[in-house]
Symmetry: C2
Subunit: 335 residues, 2 copies
């Protein structure tokens, strides 16, 4: 089955590039609200499920035990830009568990944010593992290990108690079996388990509404959603799509990007969960599609609509500020 064209990139009067993709929107009963393209092909959810991976930290009372703040909880769900505030908060999370940067097993890279990367270089510094875009999630894993009496060493391994807790939570929430033979290794070295989009969307409908979750899981999901809505900067960073969209919509939408054009979201007031994948993995298309689904489903006032429209169908300007083209969504997506 060929997935349809959902995003067009224009230049002058022509379409220069095109993106295909698939989308699943389901409600908290698991009923299909919208299905576009081949949603049965398994995809790696990558960083789009970080909020679900953070649930055990809250459910098991570890966040309270270590007195984690809302900013720290938001950072546990982040693919952050490595700005100084992100790095600082990742450090305080580790300190609360009595650990430091030396425990992180995510690897080191220059900050994802280009400005942050140059700022670090301008200080004559080089990055450490706290600058890794996943350091907040990993700091959360280390808190989870320490808080449950486990040695964090090797916490990225599929057989470590941390990853077993995380996998059980992912299976509980999505209802999908997470088997090793359908797994891959993520950029930060933890396992990522291939899953069908409707299962992923169902998980996020439950995450957004609490329906079908235990009391602890429901409270954990609500706390995560409120923490991220209060601190959208922490989950991404300056100028980033997730930060900008949640600054507009706050608790009305939880959205999270993952590598290779995957996106998960929930619109709690509608009870919807959303999962989408761009065939070619391009994040610009995934972002436009997610903003387009906000336009399609959420009631918005004029100001909100204009702000989301600018994210869904941005205009491209060149280095001299001349308008050269833009992104537009196809009727298949906008409905």
């Amino acid at each position: 089955m060929d997935n349809p064209f959902l995003v067009e990139v224009t230049r002058g009067q022509l379409v220069e590039s095109r993106h295909r993709g698939s989308i699943s929107v389901v409600d908290a009963d698991g009923a299909t609200v919208l299905s576009i393209g081949d949603v049965d092909r398994r995809v790696f959810p990558r960083s789009a499920v970080k909020a679900l991976q953070a649930l055990p930290l809250l459910e098991r009372g570890i966040a309270d035990k270590f007195d984690l703040t809302d900013e720290e909880i938001a950072l546990a769900c982040a693919s952050h830009s490595g700005e100084s505030e992100h790095v600082r908060v990742a450090g305080t999370m580790l300190a609360k568990a009595g650990r430091d940067v030396g425990c992180l097993e995510c690897g080191t890279h220059w900050p994802m944010g280009e400005s942050a990367s140059r700022a670090l270089a301008a200080e004559g510094k080089t990055p450490n593992a706290l600058h890794n875009n996943c350091s907040g999630k990993h700091a959360g894993f280390i808190c989870l290990a320490c808080g449950t009496g486990n040695d964090p060493k090797g916490y990225v391994g599929a057989d470590h108690p941390v990853q077993r807790m995380v996998r059980e939570t992912l299976e509980d929430v999505t209802g999908a079996c997470h088997s090793m033979e359908k797994s891959g290794t993520d950029g930060c070295s933890i396992p990522t388990y291939a899953i069908r989009l409707p299962s992923l969307a169902f998980g996020f409908a439950k995450f957004g509404t609490g329906a079908g979750l235990s009391g602890e899981a429901r409270a954990a999901a609500e706390r995560i959603r409120k923490a991220v809505a209060a601190h959208p900067f922490m989950v991404a960073g300056t100028g980033r799509f997730d930060t900008k969209l949640m600054e507009i919509l706050r608790e009305r939408a939880f959205v999270k990007v993952g590598a290779e054009g995957i996106y998960c979201a929930t619109f709690p007031e509608l009870g919807y969960g959303i999962a989408l994948k761009v065939d070619d993995g391009h994040v610009r298309a995934a972002e436009a599609m997610m903003a387009g689904l906000v336009l399609r489903f959420l009631p918005l006032n004029d100001q909100e609509r204009a702000a989301v429209e600018a994210l869904a169908q941005p205009v491209f300007k060149n280095w001299n500020g001349i308008e050269v083209g833009g992104i537009r969504l196809t009727p298949a997506l906008l409905g």
Copy 2:
């Protein structure tokens, strides 16, 4: 017509993302050697035709008049990384025409190369127009203007004598009409004219062989090819695909990337010109496809084959050096 899958991006045992595209390979008579996908859809050649855009500078004797070196001629065809050597050479080109950075109309951006960008920041500096990846091409345009007695001011405009000379050359070499209604504005503000892939490939077959070109154009094309083969660092930069491939193959292949997944090339010993476009604009797929066409067509020794194979089907390692997946080409491309 749906273009076929030509590139797969794997993780673990699964295909995570896929790229479709179209390819045209023609010989210097214009006969089709290979045609994949919808090659009749017009594409913007963007920076992939910089070598053709540099022809008037050589044909009209301006390069000799200003005593341009091979490094400078190579930089005139470049989408460079903004490393200090690129910036220096762009400056000397302008100085030879009696001009300076203030004449450049390409706009300013931080160096395309991340290391170069951080190195500039570490020096406490900010970029100027010499760091723009197109500064060499623009310095060439300014040389062309000054050398032909024209005021360079406004040289990016479609009606300026420089762009008229460039457009006439593009029409001569490709045999395709370059009309304003099918034009767009490039990132560096010059016009880019939509064209069919076979016309583009034909132009590069002529560029690679000299067949069908005037004596001046043939000599100009040969000088450009030799200059780039001698200085492949100048056309891209440290670690970049075009630099690495031409360091392996030297005069046996001229290749040039453009934005949005376009690529042009010529293999002079076979008399072939090549043009390809990735539907979604992803450069990783365009590079893999170009390396795949080298494997398909050019006779290579074991060492060359291994080096090109590593560019065609690279392995991905994560931040901890763990192998997580890679790129592989489909039989439709490898033949």
